[in-house]
């Protein structure tokens, strides 16, 4: 058990020194999209709209946090694809006397850290844009809010890991972004409520993890009750994704 933690730390250490070296670049580049969303939809378009009696920006911020944590954590882990296919540096981990789980967990945690840093920055930005955030008022809501964000980033880090293990070309990797992450960014209750969608579309969208994350973050962010079932759904996704990640890593040759 101690060995497992030590090995997780080694994997995490590698990602941490790489991140540290490029922290400023990382922060700047990852802030562009969320700032644009805040400006265009929150400040520009949103001033004339109100949702459920609140301002649109208060409605929007949890959505942006959800989609951003998805995108950052997924894309933070995809360089493993190049380590496997191109540089072959993944071989060092395969040859090492470590549990395969240590590698998966270490990589997922490192992606979660990146996602966490950018979430914190968005919260600060959102407040500068005049959003009011309720979860800060109650400790329980605050912890739950944080937990949901972390689970969400773990799910998408895991998905990124699976993609990095299974997919063989760069092109296909970027197609995952275009055909899966981008549509989810817009449709999963991030910019508008899923209840406005046609029934069949809505049924599919409401099965997706990001929809549950948006719903939970928004509920907690506006000080409303949230249903525990959404948290359970996210936990189930997390368990499935992590066990699939481990399997994918074990199968790498």
């Amino acid at each position: 058990m101690i060995r497992l933690i030590e090995d997780i730390c080694t994997v995490f250490w590698r990602d941490w020194i790489v991140l540290k070296r490029r922290l400023t670049k990382f922060i700047l580049s990852r802030m562009v999209a969320p700032i644009l969303y805040l400006v265009a939809f929150g400040y520009g378009l949103g001033r004339s709209i109100s949702v459920e009696g609140g301002t649109y920006i208060d409605f929007l911020v949890p959505g942006i946090l959800a989609l951003n944590s998805m995108n950052i954590s997924f894309n933070s882990i995809t360089p493993v694809h190049a380590e496997r296919v191109y540089h072959k540096s993944l071989e060092e981990y395969i040859l090492a006397p470590i549990a395969p789980a240590a590698f998966v967990i270490g990589k997922v945690l490192a992606a979660m850290l990146r996602s966490f840093i950018s979430s914190a920055l968005i919260l600060v930005l959102a407040m500068l844009f005049g959003a009011s955030l309720q979860p800060l008022s109650s400790p329980v809501a605050m912890v739950t809010f944080l937990l949901v964000l972390l689970i969400n980033s773990a799910i998408f880090a895991g998905l990124g890991f699976i993609a990095a293990m299974r997919i063989n070309t760069y092109e296909e990797m970027s197609q995952v972004n275009t055909y899966i992450l981008l549509p989810m960014s817009f449709l999963c209750g991030t910019f508008f409520k899923t209840s406005t969608l046609p029934d069949t579309v809505r049924f599919v969208i409401e099965l997706l993890p990001l929809t549950h994350t948006s719903y939970l973050l928004r509920g907690l962010g506006t000080g409303n009750e949230v249903s525990v079932s959404s948290i359970v759904v996210l936990m189930i996704y997390l368990a499935i994704v992590l066990s699939m990640s481990l399997r994918a890593f074990n199968r790498v040759e």
Partner: protein, 240 residues
């Protein structure tokens, strides 16, 4: 000792890369795997080092209860350069040391002494991408030695190196043997096998076509040197 029994590898493309190999590698010997490009040397090494699963057959490392125990006792120098491109020379070494559970002090001392040995102590903080080809090769070899493996696998370690560097690597390999390390080396340089190997296996199209000491191979094939043996064996293999 490593026992290899009826080892086969068939890739998804139905390519038979390794075809029914059986042989033993004895403790403390330098065992050479010779063969032309595409003979199946790398695939054999990758199966022996648990990087690729055999399609069938058995590999037994004596004295190792499971895969983890095997991984602890082997060191691997791959045919291709596989450093972490985002890390420096020293960080690449540290990553290996950490993954093999050396304590902090051992890490520092071992990395220092190995980098000094290959005269790369002054580039420890450099980007690994900035090294020359020869420097990368040397670094690749000493990285595999950090954790003092009992069995060392080297897949064409001296490919495209200057003669002086190649000789230095031979010297290192002989030194390791003197320390009791078992060595499995692949090469297509006949001279390398002649210089180093206690026993040499010839592979052709995935099959083992001869296995003996270089001297015996020459005698049995009525050849003046290993190169003649090689040419003769390959020709015979083409006939049937």
């Amino acid at each position: 000792m490593i026992r290899i029994k009826n080892l086969c590898k068939v890739f998804k493309s139905n390519k038979v890369a390794v075809d029914d190999l059986s042989f033993d590698v004895n403790d403390g010997e330098i065992f050479g795997l010779l063969g032309k490009n595409g003979a199946g040397k790398t695939t054999t090494i990758r199966m022996l080092t648990l990087q690729t699963r055999p399609t069938s057959g058995e590999i037994i490392f004596e004295g190792a209860a499971d895969d983890l125990a095997v991984k602890k006792m082997i060191g691997v120098v791959p045919q291709h350069i596989n450093f972490d491109q985002d890390l420096t020379v020293g960080e690449n070494m540290e990553l290996h040391a950490r993954l093999h559970h050396l304590n902090r002090q051992e890490q520092r001392q071992r990395i220092h002494e190995l980098l000094e040995y290959i005269e790369l102590g002054n580039v420890v903080n450099d980007d690994v991408r900035s090294l020359s080809g020869g420097m990368k090769r040397r670094l690749l070899i000493v990285r595999a030695l950090i954790h003092r493996p009992h069995i060392l696998f080297l897949d064409e370690p001296t490919v495209a190196l200057d003669p002086q560097v190649r000789r230095k690597i031979w010297q290192l390999i002989k030194q390791l043997k003197a320390q009791g390390v078992t060595i499995v080396i692949t090469t297509h340089y006949i001279e390398e096998a002649e210089q180093l190997c206690d026993r040499t296996a010839f592979l052709s199209r995935g099959k083992l076509i001869a296995l003996d000491s270089p001297a015996n191979l020459c005698r049995l094939n009525n050849a003046a040197n290993l190169e003649d043996v090689f040419i003769r064996l390959i020709e015979d293999d083409k006939i049937d």
